[in-house]
Symmetry: C2
Subunit: 560 residues, 2 copies
């Protein structure tokens, strides 16, 4: 008799597991059950439909060859039965049956299984505040939500929007709303991208968003949403201020849909998501869980984490599909790599943050650079700010974070590979990555950053971060800020501080006597390249209490 | 007394070594000597200046902050002396002196050194044929050459160009000439990109160039170039035909400039380039060689190879600069990664080719796919054809090749890292690379390809390449080609062969009886996705003598 595989959840992880199980065992009876009417859609594409970049809603549901993934598709092309608008109410683990309910008719029925796969996904966290029911207040979780926001945008009279929450989805929504000509304000309780970037990187990224005319209200707790007599939203009220708006989108996080697993008595992990082993088996070995409803393991720390992303769901889908069909494939965990796009900026991170690496007890070193992703002469190029977190004892790379209008995403994926394979900063610098002007500099940003780490480890470079310099300035310390840029560059923008002394690098050798010998010196330039040169020149001339500014003034996130 | 470092060669490797030596030892006396009048320029940028994408010649000579890298720059910012139009004639290794000649005045003088760095670069190989002196016949090696081609293009009456040589530089020139509205013919003695792509990939890439209206004359030996009475080129004559043209560019390879090293009695390697150890020392430990004049080691085979590229020169520059200044930095070798851009296509390769891997004795497996680099719904996306070469015994990745209008370059750099760190196809598939629609599919092309390798290794997938299918068809074998695409797709383009049978995947289950059971079956579709699905369905139904077509009909390089 052929094996019965039942899959609860039809968005990403479920259909992937079904497709894989079908290929591994062409004779299995495979059934997918989905509560919603939409199945197998590109959830991560929703912000791009909202922005207008994806022109047609149906494209999110199509195969590459233009076929809609519906009942017919699953039946005929994948050989799977599909129930939509059908909710799994409970699991009888003794009888190995799932109890299902047709949400339109209320009719209940059961499906027997040999292997059950739970892929029930996640739901948006709803903040416990008043006013979330006003018209114009939205979440973005499923295709219905994005249609509703689209409609709100069409009907809306004004042009002011508020996004509540400073994570990836919030920032993608900011981008999408801006492309709909809305003036957008982001309100977030602490800083932006807390799970993705260290505070120094987040502050820089926030500055870019402000420069792009996004109103940023960080560190503000939302108290309530207020509406008008017609039941439409009129403002978002925080502890500090009232933000008038015509539409609001709440994106404060996701939580795993575990009700079915809880009801069935399956183990829930400390993260609050369904616990699984590396074969994605729950505490019942005939029941698998994967995707946004389950937890996973961070491969560097060994800790259980909740990391709901589509690419993980896809990789897990293959493993769970293989295993349910009788094969054996481990899913060892994740590195926590995240990528996102907002307001012309590519943002990403992988591995451990500086904060996390310190918690783990590493002797943490960091290096941050701000440079072109391609040769400056090549017409298509952008900037990338890139930060490495490494172990000062071994030189091993622990994490990387990057953003920029240049191709930061490419470098983060590369670093994800290098970190997974245990690369040191030296090995990173030595990689033969290939080169042509349309793709990178002869020495890629990723290798340039690795060389800065090497310079710091060997003592050739001693640097100061923008945060450290700002603190020193604010503390009123007596020291010299030596700006070595061209006078034209200086005149355009510089630190407005009496401790700043301008000596163009090209005249530094002649004018070296003008630099006071008894004082601490911080050399600054635009990007950190010329200041490094000047720093080495001054070290050679005997200056000892001296550093240069990493990332240069272009990486300065404060007022200039 | 401060250390004297003399560097012969001022294009890429030399200045990089100088800058690094300066930073490591701020008190060294550093001198750069260059035969040409141009120094420290972006040689790889020349094709983009030729194409018009780089608008100003001087941009190739500027720093990111707009300063020309001339004598003044090297003196004031790098603290290095620079002699241009000065040739190193000989080295007195006993006295540790270099004999130099000012090429304008003929005056000779000597420079003492403690450490000497040879970075004399390479010269274009000139084919031994008549007619290379006609006006309109060019090479592309230095900035003077590119200016000369620019001028030829301005003066030229007609619009036909011939490029002799099918390597990267030749193809970059094809692209640049096309952007100058020239009808361009490429003539090459064997196939294109011989050092970079296996023949199956090269054939596919050649098809793309033909589709882009580049006349491709492969396997043609050039006999001579003929000119008119005014001494201008009129045609390129090959063994097969006469190609009328108004301009020709010869790009048949580079050879190392070793005259100085030979004269000094330094060891020359089997590759014909200067031999060095991993500290880039020549057979004289006080003399280093690097960049295009020297050979290096392939890190996978341990063999010495000649691999002249700017990124290698850069990385070697750091090592040689460090070592000459008294530090210690190894340069362990290269993986042979190459990237290039031509006619809207990104092309790259890394590690071992299939051919090379077979020579090395590996039990070679390959997998090739043809797929989108980003979700098909996302407005910016392209196709990538990607081939992996792996060891069937261990699953270890040995090499990767890719091209496409999608971002093939990004994947090749990623693979270069993975291969360097010894990744297996399984580890490649498991990487947590991050995902958002602007960057990749949830499962990146690079991981998708790795999964195909896994499927082939485990026996879940048995495939046929386009070359194998073509041979089978040409041999008149009796078998069934089962096309499972939509009828609309079939009608647009299909294999014109009586053995083709069309059964849309969605009707395959109902029509399974129409498939003859005694014959070999090859399932085909557009990309290899639906045919894989159909293949598994038929395997499940008991068909045994069956395969599906890798890369699908979109990867078919022959006539349809």
């Amino acid at each position: 008799m052929s094996k019965k595989i039942v899959i609860i959840g039809g968005v990403a992880a479920g259909p992937k597991a079904a497709a894989r199980a079908r290929r591994v065992d062409p004779n299995a009876e495979i059934t997918i059950v989905e509560r919603d009417s939409y199945v197998s859609y590109a959830g991560c594409g929703m912000p791009y439909y909202l922005s207008g970049e994806v022109s047609e809603f149906k494209k999110l549901f199509e195969t590459t060859y233009g076929v809609i993934r519906d009942h017919d598709f699953f039946k005929k092309e994948k050989g799977c039965d599909l129930y939509t608008r059908t909710e799994a109410k409970s699991i009888d683990r003794e009888k190995k049956e799932v109890v299902l309910e047709n949400l339109d008719t209320g009719e209940q029925f059961t499906l027997p299984y040999d292997k059950l796969i739970i892929a029930t996904g996640a739901s948006p966290v709803m903040p416990q505040i008043e006013g979330t029911n006003f018209k114009g207040v939205h979440i973005l979780n499923n295709p219905g939500d994005v249609q509703a926001i689209k409609q709100s945008l069409e009907e809306v009279d004004g042009e002011e929007a508020v996004v509540i929450g400073g994570g990836s989805v919030g920032l993608e929504v900011v981008d999408a709303l801006s492309k709909n000509y809305m003036f957008t304000t982001m309100v977030t309780r602490s800083r932006i991208l807390g799970g993705m970037l260290d505070i120094d990187m987040a502050e820089r990224m926030q500055k870019k968003l402000e420069d792009a005319d996004v109103e940023m209200k960080t560190g503000q707790k939302v108290l309530r949403i207020e509406g008008d007599d017609e039941g439409k939203i009129s403002r978002v009220v925080t502890e500090q201020e009232e933000l008038d708006c015509d539409i609001a989108v709440i994106a404060v996080g996701k939580e795993p849909n575990t009700a079915l697993a809880v009801e069935a008595g399956l183990e829930i992990g400390e993260t609050g998501a369904v616990a699984v082993n590396e074969y994605l088996q729950t505490s019942d070995p005939d029941i698998y869980a994967l995707g946004d409803c389950s937890e996973t393991t961070h491969i560097m720390t060994g800790e259980k984490i909740y990391f709901p992303t589509a690419s993980v769901a896809n990789r897990q889908g293959r493993a769970a599909g293989t295993n349910a069909a009788g094969g054996s494939e481990a899913f060892k965990g994740v590195l926590g790599t995240e990528l996102m796009y907002t307001m012309e900026y590519n943002v990403g991170s992988t591995g451990l943050s500086e904060e996390k690496a310190l918690q783990q007890g590493y002797s943490v070193g960091t290096a941050t650079i701000n440079t072109h992703d391609r040769p400056h002469f090549y017409p298509v190029h952008g900037m990338v700010v890139m930060k490495y977190i490494y172990d000062q004892n071994t030189g091993r790379l622990l994490g990387a974070q990057a953003f920029g209008d240049g191709d930061a995403a490419k470098r983060i994926s590369l670093l994800a590979a290098a970190i997974t394979f245990g690369a040191t900063v030296e090995q990173m610098a030595e990689l033969d990555l290939g080169y042509a002007p349309p793709y990178s500099n002869p020495l890629d940003v990723a290798q340039h950053t690795a060389n800065i780490c090497r310079n710091k480890m060997s003592g050739v470079a001693r640097t100061m971060t923008v945060q450290q310099l700002k603190e020193k300035m604010d503390a009123g310390e007596d020291f010299v800020i030596l700006d070595v840029r061209l006078e034209e560059q200086y005149n355009m923008r510089h630190l407005k501080d009496s401790r700043v002394k301008l000596i163009d690098l090209s005249t530094l050798q002649e004018r070296i006597n003008e630099i006071p010998t008894g004082k601490e010196i911080v050399v600054v330039c635009a990007l950190g390249t010329r200041s490094y040169e000047a720093y080495r020149m001054l070290v050679g001339a005997g200056f000892e209490n001296i550093t240069f500014l990493e990332t240069g003034l272009q990486g300065w996130p404060y007022e200039l």
